[in-house]
Symmetry: C2
Subunit: 344 residues, 2 copies
């Protein structure tokens, strides 16, 4: 990592002291395994070379932990099916490494747990800043963090939901417009959507935008909320296709549900895109690996992670952040969307 | 979190001291924003209630950081396409939370970076234990950690590759046997494989096992190595299908390549499973969401993560770990495997 380059290592200390590097690590960590004479020599040489002290001692001296906090707020089984968070972690990590920062990651099962973790971080100063993701509408974490400005926090969410906290926002309403416009131009006048959980902030923003845009264009629109899993995506698809007249297009809030929805349509003998057009959100590898491959609203999640890390580092340095926009969405038209069938 | 339950929080301190919780956080973190009188009162009340001190100070006192280290050793773009690591993180996190431990996560680009991070952790004691994943054959990290037993380390890898380090191992050779047996019983005598990178430990173990088992059964076997991405999976599939006589079954080392391979076959007019059977490894949600859904070697990655966390906590407590086996693989037969075609 950039921050480690040129730093004095235990191998440098070992060489200069004429002992093994394992003797150095015993000596520096205050553990038994080396003689007192060796320990004294190692400590003297380490000090001469400017070797940096124990991480915890260093934290106290710097009053920085060089860690940012990330709470993964999902069910463990669900977390492993959702590529979004891994993309975000990849981007966060890539940027943080360039500044010799680490991520402190915790898993929370539910809102109470997550609040307890944030309170702990506020109280102990165990991280220099934290990232808030998956905001709900009226999210109590926002108030908690506004009451405790000693803890720097960045929210990834629509700015209308973050109560003035520093925010990395995305223009989801514009993306909804692009999706509907694409389908409208293909002749679709009866579209449905399989959304994420209703209480999540971005579901709420998208719900409002889809209702408004479809209403303006005189398009029939219905929506079912699901939990992002393939089972829920397939189930919602079957329900939507059972209604007569059935929708000629379905938009999914994530790729996992879109892929499962495409398979469910296939199993019902509903051909994609002949009978039904399918669109997805996020545009992970699943959209291009699927057959037919899936039209999607592409966002650069890795880049958003990089931006979030850079913004948190600014906050830690005492800079103002305000509201910053993620890179814009792009619509990637692929095989899964086509002209609306004459009569569904 | 279990560890937070019943703990004295800053809200308890605030109530007892008759001040706001934000005043408490200012006071405890030694930041300006409260009067000296308030600060003194808060510190006295906090001490009376047994509130725990700053995380770094606490680390020094306990000589534990309550963190385990995890290095994600992938390209950031690739990391986000691979569900394995997110599954592992989910399991690790779920178990660690029950013991009030966090994960310290860093991203490494290449072997040198990863070595530098491990050296830093050995030198600074920034984590109580670390997890080694994606071992390569002759992996220099194994020697580094054997030389520095002050850093507790657990490897997730075949025990033949970990040089006596504490190891969570899986019986990949047995899984290879199950895969070949399944195809053999369906009449396949010419099978191919799209494997992960050749230098990775588990590719090596599987390469050897597949060669041996197919040779024993008199099955024709060939293998191409790829990098786990959908593009590489599709490309290897097209190459394998271009050879005459073409294989009647392909086994993939991960789900992403299997899904991309199924689509590539489809696009070439090769019907699955009529002309070609397809099998995958890991069995993430993609296997059931695909159409036709994909026969796979199922492993419980979340549970493996839980086991890994529990074993690291044992190491931190000074217990011996040795070699422990992951839950066994199960073959999940689905639509993508069928009888071998008469003549390919």
């Amino acid at each position: 990592m950039a921050g480690n380059k040129g730093k004095v290592t235990i191998f440098d200390v070992a060489k200069a002291a004429g002992v093994s590097s394992s003797a150095v690590s015993y000596a520096l960590n205050g553990k038994p395994g080396v003689s007192e004479a060796t320990r004294a020599k190692v400590l003297r040489v380490a000090s001469e070379l400017g070797w940096k002290p124990n991480g915890a001692a260093q934290s106290l001296a710097e009053s920085k932990t060089r860690r940012i906090g990330l709470i993964l707020g999902y069910d463990p089984k669900l977390l492993s099916v959702e590529p979004y968070m891994m993309g975000l972690i990849s981007g966060l990590g890539a940027e943080l490494e360039e500044h010799d920062y680490s991520m402190l990651v915790r898993l929370s099962i539910g809102e109470e747990d997550e609040r307890a973790i944030i309170e702990d971080w506020i109280a102990t100063g165990n991280v220099d800043a934290l990232l808030l993701t998956n905001l709900e509408i009226g999210d109590p974490r926002v108030d908690l963090l506004k009451e405790h400005p000693t803890m720097k926090a960045l929210a990834i969410a629509d700015a209308s939901l973050t109560g003035g906290l520093p925010t990395l926002t995305s223009d989801d309403a514009a993306a909804c417009g692009m999706a509907v416009q694409h389908l409208y131009e293909l002749g679709h006048r009866n579209i449905a959507r399989v959304a994420g959980p209703e209480e999540l902030g971005h579901s709420y923003i998208r719900d409002a935008a889809f209702s408004e845009i479809t209403s303006e264009l005189g398009i029939k629109y219905r929506c079912l909320h699901a939990d992002y899993t393939p089972e829920a995506g397939a189930d919602a698809t079957r329900r939507l296709l059972s209604v007569s007249p059935r929708p000629t297009a379905i938009i999914y809030d994530n790729d996992v549900m879109a892929l499962a929805g495409e398979s469910a349509a296939n199993q019902l003998g509903v051909s994609v895109p002949g009978d039904l057009s399918i669109m997805s959100w996020d545009d992970s590898f699943m959209c291009t690996a699927a057959h037919p491959n899936i039209t999607a609203l592409n966002r650069d999640i890795v880049e958003a992670g990089r931006m979030a890390a850079a913004l948190m580092l600014k906050l830690i340095d005492g800079e103002e952040v305000g509201v910053v926009e993620e890179p814009p969405y792009h619509l990637r038209a692929r095989e899964s969307t086509g002209p609306a069938p004459a009569e569904a």
